[in-house]
């Protein structure tokens, strides 16, 4: 053992000095740090401007999903019941968020940009059943608003898979 009394005392001085400095903690529920613009939060289904759903029920997202958390049941559009812009639409579209790993592959696989990953991350629930999001929930505007950092300042260039397609 190599005792260093002076260094030890210096260490005591350092720890004591910290007491008078302001803590760097961010008090979370009161202060929400803005998320990164391309942060992958909970999913969102989109509609066209004319009100028709973008999703055509092709199940490519379900196929791409590594966690197997998406369930799509498709049905034909008819003249009386036109839901989506394509030939078919998703009668059932469910995402089990307790299985989802937020990898974003569903967004990547979607040929119509119908599903995207939003910025919302406060999606904890008391029951597992409440974590199964149905189509209505995914189509609705998110209730909770999450501050997002300035896109100009923090966003990275458009990813190659989006620019090339």
């Amino acid at each position: 053992m190599n005792p260093q009394p002076l260094g030890t005392l210096k260490g005591f001085a350092v720890t004591f000095r910290q007491i008078f400095r302001k803590p760097i903690t961010q008090q979370y529920p009161e202060y929400k740090r803005p998320v990164y613009p391309r942060f992958r939060g909970r999913h969102r289904l989109w509609k066209h401007e004319n009100g028709l759903e973008k999703c055509v029920g092709c199940s490519l997202c379900a196929a791409a999903c590594p966690a197997d958390c998406i369930r799509v049941v498709a049905e034909e559009n008819t003249a009386e019941n036109r839901v989506s812009a394509g030939e078919r639409y998703a009668r059932i579209y469910e995402i089990n968020l307790s299985r989802c790993i937020f990898c974003g592959y569903c967004e990547l696989a979607c040929p119509f940009d119908a599903i995207t990953l939003g910025n919302e991350f406060e999606i904890a629930e008391y029951s597992r059943d409440d974590l199964i999001y149905t189509k209505d929930m995914l189509l609705a505007e998110p209730i909770k608003r999450v501050p997002v950092a300035d896109r100009e300042q923090f966003d990275t260039p458009e990813p190659a898979y989006k620019t090339s397609s």
Binding site: Q18, I19, T25
Partner: protein, 332 residues
Amino acid sequence: MHVEWYVSLIQAVVIINLVMVTFAYLTLAERKIMGRMQLRYGPNRAGPYGLLQPIADLVKLLNKESFQPTAAIDWLYVLGPFLACFTALTTFSVIPFGPGWEIGGVYIPGQVADIDIALILIFAIGSVGIYGFIIGGWSSDSKYALLGAMRTCAQLVSYEVSLALSVLGVVIMAKSLSLTEIVAAQSDTVWYAVPQFVGLVVFFLAGTAETARAPFDLPEAEQELVAGYHTEYGGMRFGLYSMSEYINLITLSGLCVTLFLGGWHGPGWDGATWAGPLWFLGKLILLLFLFIWMRATLPRLRYDQLMRFGWKILLPIAILNAIVTAIVVVAV
């Protein structure tokens, strides 16, 4: 002076509860101060400034299931925490915190029990307390708990020697083992922190090891032993262990105040007679802060470093201190 039995009883209840409250808020203070030293806030959610945190912790611990490993030895497993906690609380009874008062014709002494061999009693009960840790670690049938218990055993036994020898100087100077007389001797002459400074330093370091505080917290070294001897404990049984550790710390600080820092006397001026407990508490808080400060500053020692420090540095210094004190006292 004659002390009525019911006075002692009431006093014991009051003191035990005061020690418990001190323990509860010591945990909060420790978390707060360490938080600040690490640029964090510490607990600040339960009540204003987190002041209800100890109560929240208590409720949480009490509500937990009292489980135990299948292979654990039942009665020893239950006995361990109780023994540790009982001995920790008992020790505080002999520490004087005031001059003694006369209220309504009833004499209230400055401590629960004024015993002639109080110092020896403290060490004796402290040694019994070690059994609580060893029994708990051994009976819970877990390798981490057993390793933790063995470390606790080895560390406490080796540092108890230095601890006992470091107070020898004080005993020689005060010519008494009674804590009240040691306090009185200090107010007559000078606080023993001055002539017995070496003894104070040895006592403080050995005491840190004795209560298994950082940097000597090898018995519960989280990174290697999970939690040490109380790995298999949960709920309030764990709470009792945690409590006994903190109360040991409080008692040790109280003993340090009594032996080296003039006990309940103020520095050269006592103030009113009721100010005794306040002086005592003030010094106690100062020492406890020092322990917390040390925990936030120093990293843990390696096991061989711990043993070498105990046997090759602390023990010779303690013996030398005792011998030199004896020579000086005899010569002068």
